[in-house]
């Protein structure tokens, strides 16, 4: 090679993936290169063009557009384009335009294909992009945590290794101990002779504390020493839920039921894992507290919880779930403490969480969102004071624990969100039939509701009635869809900026507003059309897929996008916590690695695609 082409060689060496080629192969490349120049504004490639060279930007910048005029990406010095086109067969499907005076090095398609054929690592760089690339990244993250939190997301039914061991409660303690020893189990279920109803459970621990320590006769019937009517868990709940119930009820063996039948027992032995132990520990600590001060102290550990879950490689979905469980438990505990101070409620009520808490999607700096549904026997003059004080107590308590007041005042302390059920119904009906922008905004908060404490019947009756009314109203759904398109993901990154559609750019990226919320909003529209009960975004998308509103591929891509964006966000927050900074949702693109940039871009593209399909489905433009 001519020594003078060394500058071209040096440049190629600085452009990934040319850097991974063996030196002697790389040296042969400069002599094969063609060079072209495109002035600012010139079209470099148009849909339908036959592309026989790989394009490497030497100086300048290029924008790539979809056929419909949407900006796909903006590229700068040292980036490559056209690789996918060549690998696909050579016909361009997008348009490229120089946005600065641009010098382009071109490598012939034949040379490029030979490099791909001979060098696997080089080829991998041009491997799948978009949803497929994101999928493999999310899968890698998921596989990495099989041994830790993955277990806790597994279903209870997967942890049942044998049929339950049962006997009559009229048998003697001695017989029970004999059967347990023979069957090698640490607990036995007691079922009435001839019936199938579970009346009690007897454990190793019970034999020690209630029989031996108390000097009870070995001939005494089991009925006298068993734990009566133990709490059970449904087979399709998660191992995580099982651990929580055990902590909440101080019961270490949990019978599992399916279709009204007991199918086995789970115990902490099989379930216990470090990562969730810390959550379980916090929950049991919270449940022991008798005043707000105690709760505040326990809650100081929440940041540490997020950091350790993040470090353990747990999925974003599980981390948010864990944080939300803590919030739920604190709320529940505050309500109990309030009841102890203020006495029982004069009429039934349900305390419901809204927003991210309702969706089990909280992260470290989530604010409070909640409301009070009160029984229709409520009379303001008689009962108003009690519920006002209750709301004030819980809300102040949560704030003291680090869950800051809602800046939009969507809290039970606001009299508007502390109403008897009939008023709530009227309010929702009004929002649905006359969807003003404000009403639609409120819907997006209060359609995500989760029962926390109080009268569960009351809550579900109300929820059912609301869900039945939404799906049939196309105009309302169109407004809700329009609202879901309000926050658009950015297009990607350019140099050290975030690139927004229309070519504007920003120096920070808000992953919550422009990444998570668009997906949450999409899922809500789909779930309300079909009156889907699920509130969690993942659950909603899965249900929407099962109902055929989303293609399996569309649903999976969106879930991958959500997981990756959330994981990036949580890791960022964990990093901030570790260096003692206040965690937030703002990124400078400088902080993002190449890997994160590429994959976030894929995730954004998925969200954009799904937003346009939502736009078409609800014919949003006709209603705006």
């Amino acid at each position: 090679m001519e020594i003078e082409l060394i500058e071209i060689l040096e440049f190629l060496t600085s452009c990934p993936p040319f850097d991974i080629l063996p030196e002697e192969v790389r040296q042969t490349l400069p002599a094969t290169i063609h060079i072209r120049y495109a002035r600012r504004g010139a079209e470099i490639m148009a849909p339908g063009d036959a592309l026989d060279t790989l394009q490497i930007i030497r100086t300048g910048a290029v924008e790539i557009y979809q056929q419909n005029g949407h900006l796909i990406t903006r590229l700068d010095e040292g980036t490559i384009f056209g690789a996918q086109t060549i690998l696909r067969g050579g016909t361009a499907v997008s348009r490229a335009e120089a946005i600065e005076d641009t010098l382009i090095y071109q490598l012939s398609a034949t040379v490029f294909q030979n490099l791909c054929r001979d060098h696997a690592e080089f080829r991998d760089y041009f491997g799948p992009v978009g949803a497929d690339r994101l999928r493999s990244a999310v899968q890698r993250a998921e596989n990495g945590q099989e041994s830790s939190f993955g277990l806790m997301a597994s279903l209870v039914v997967e942890h049942i290794s044998r049929k339950p061991v049962c006997m009559s409660p009229d048998a003697s303690v001695k017989e029970a101990a004999r059967l347990m020893t023979d069957a090698k189990v640490s607990s036995i279920l007691l079922v009435e002779e001839g019936g199938s109803d579970l009346v009690g459970i007897l454990t190793d621990q019970d034999l020690r504390t209630r029989v031996v320590a108390e000097g009870v006769s070995l001939e005494a019937p089991v009925r006298t020493v068993m734990s009566q009517s133990p709490t059970t868990i449904s087979a399709h709940r998660t191992a995580f839920d099982a651990m929580l119930i055990m902590a909440q009820h101080n019961q270490h063996h949990l019978p599992v039921h399916r279709a009204g039948k007991i199918i086995g027992v789970v115990s902490p032995h099989g379930l216990l894992q470090n990562q969730c132990t810390s959550v379980i520990f916090m929950v049991s600590e919270i449940n022991k507290q008798r005043n707000v001060q105690g709760l505040v102290e326990v809650c100081t550990q929440i940041p540490q919880l997020l950091v350790s879950l993040s470090d353990s490689g747990t999925t974003a979905q599980s981390i948010s779930h864990a944080i939300t469980v803590v919030t739920d438990t604190v709320t529940r505990r505050l309500l109990r403490i309030a009841e102890r101070i203020m006495g029982p409620a004069p009429v039934p009520f349900a305390w419901a969480a809204a927003g991210s808490q309702a969706r089990d999607e909280q992260t470290i700096q989530s604010d409070q969102d909640h409301c009070l549904l009160i029984d229709d026997s409520y009379v303001k003059s008689k009962h108003g004071q009690y519920f006002r004080d209750l709301a004030r107590f819980v809300t102040d308590g949560l704030n003291a624990c680090g869950f800051v007041y809602c800046p939009g005042d969507a809290m039970a302390t606001n009299p508007q969100w502390r109403q008897p059920v009939r008023t709530w119904r009227r309010m929702f009906r009004h929002w649905i039939t006359e969807p003003t922008p404000k009403a639609v905004m409120l819907c997006s908060i209060f359609f995500d509701l989760k029962f926390i404490e109080g009268d569960e019947q009351l809550f579900w009756a109300f929820r059912e009635c609301v869900l039945n009314n939404t799906g049939s109203n196309r105009i309302f759904l169109a407004h809700l869809a329009a609202n879901a398109l309000r926050n658009q993901p950015p297009v990607g990154f350019f140099r050290n900026f975030v690139l927004i559609d229309g070519g504007e750019h920003d120096d920070t990226l808000n992953l919550k507003k422009n990444g998570v919320i668009p997906i949450v909003d999409l899922a809500r529209v789909y779930s309300l059309e079909r009156g889907i009960h699920a509130v969690n975004t993942k659950g909603r998308l899965q249900k929407a897929r099962d109902e055929g509103m989303l293609s399996p591929r569309g649903a999976r891509d969106l879930l991958d996008a959500l997981e990756f964006i959330n994981l990036t966000r949580i890791r960022h927050q964990a990093k901030q916590l570790r260096i003692g900074a206040d965690p937030n949702n703002y990124f400078s693109p400088k902080e993002l690695s190449h890997f994160e940039r590429d994959h976030l871009k894929d995730a954004f593209l998925i969200v954009q695609t799904m937003q346009s399909s939502l736009e078409q489905r609800y014919q949003v433009s006709r209603f705006l």
């Binding site: 003078e4 002599a31 060079i35 002035r39 100086t59 005076d101």
Partner: protein, 233 residues
């Protein structure tokens, strides 16, 4: 040696035909067999050759060529496959100040061929093409001198000078270039072209070629199809 009207006509084809009648054999005759590209030809259809010569000094009568850099352009694309860098072994010693400038020492030069061996390759590469250089006068006078000395007749070749193009562009925009504004590096910067550290015949030829593409690309923005005549005018 050339007829009286030689300097009165800019129609290179007249000169070529006259030369073809007089040059009976050799590399120059081979070169002259191909017509000179017409001024009416659109740029897309033409082949260009960016040329840079390193010399022992600036006087074509006394000084010698020590290296030749050539970069070919076809359809407004640079083609590095056909680029070449030829070292010439001069008759005299290379003066020290020239060594400092382009780094070609006597020892390196000894590895090169004689100008007599190199000129046929150069003429062959240039056949049917338009020559491009930055401050082309130097390249042109040295080439003419070499042809006259070796073959007894001058060369006929259309020449585009990127320095002159830039100077005219600036003047058309009522900007009058100051000293240094027209240096190759300074002009390239205005077109957002990369900075090359090395200075030798090949990298300077490449620099001129890239600059030429940039200038043509900006001229083409006006919409009308450019012809060779537009660049020679």
């Amino acid at each position: 040696m050339v007829p009286f009207w030689w300097n009165c006509t800019h129609v290179l084809e007249f000169r070529r035909r006259w030369l073809l009648d007089h040059v009976k054999s050799g590399p120059l005759r081979d070169y002259l067999m191909t017509p000179v590209p017409s001024r009416r030809r659109p740029l897309d259809s033409l082949d260009f050759m960016a040329l840079d010569l390193e010399t022992t000094g600036l006087d074509a009568k006394r000084d010698e060529i020590i290296s030749v850099g050539m970069v070919e352009m076809r359809k407004c694309r640079i083609n590095l496959e056909t680029s070449s860098h030829l070292l010439v072994n001069p008759q005299k010693e290379i003066p020290e100040e020239s060594v400092i400038l382009h780094g070609v020492t006597d020892d390196i030069s000894k590895t090169g061929a004689t100008l007599e061996e190199i000129m046929p390759r150069l003429l062959d590469a240039l056949t049917g093409k338009v020559l491009v250089a930055h401050y082309a006068r130097l390249e042109v006078t040295f080439l003419q001198a070499a042809c006259r000395r070796l073959y007894g007749y001058p060369l006929v070749v259309p020449v585009v000078d990127t320095l002159r193009l830039e100077s005219k562009r600036l003047k058309a925009g009522n900007r009058y270039p100051k000293a240094g504004d027209l240096r190759l590096d300074a002009v390239r910067m205005r077109y957002n072209l990369p900075r090359y550290r090395a200075h030798n015949a090949l990298s300077d030829a490449l620099s001129a070629a890239e600059l030429f593409l940039a200038q043509v690309s900006h001229r083409a923005a006006s919409g009308r199809m450019l012809t060779l005549g537009d660049l020679l005018r």
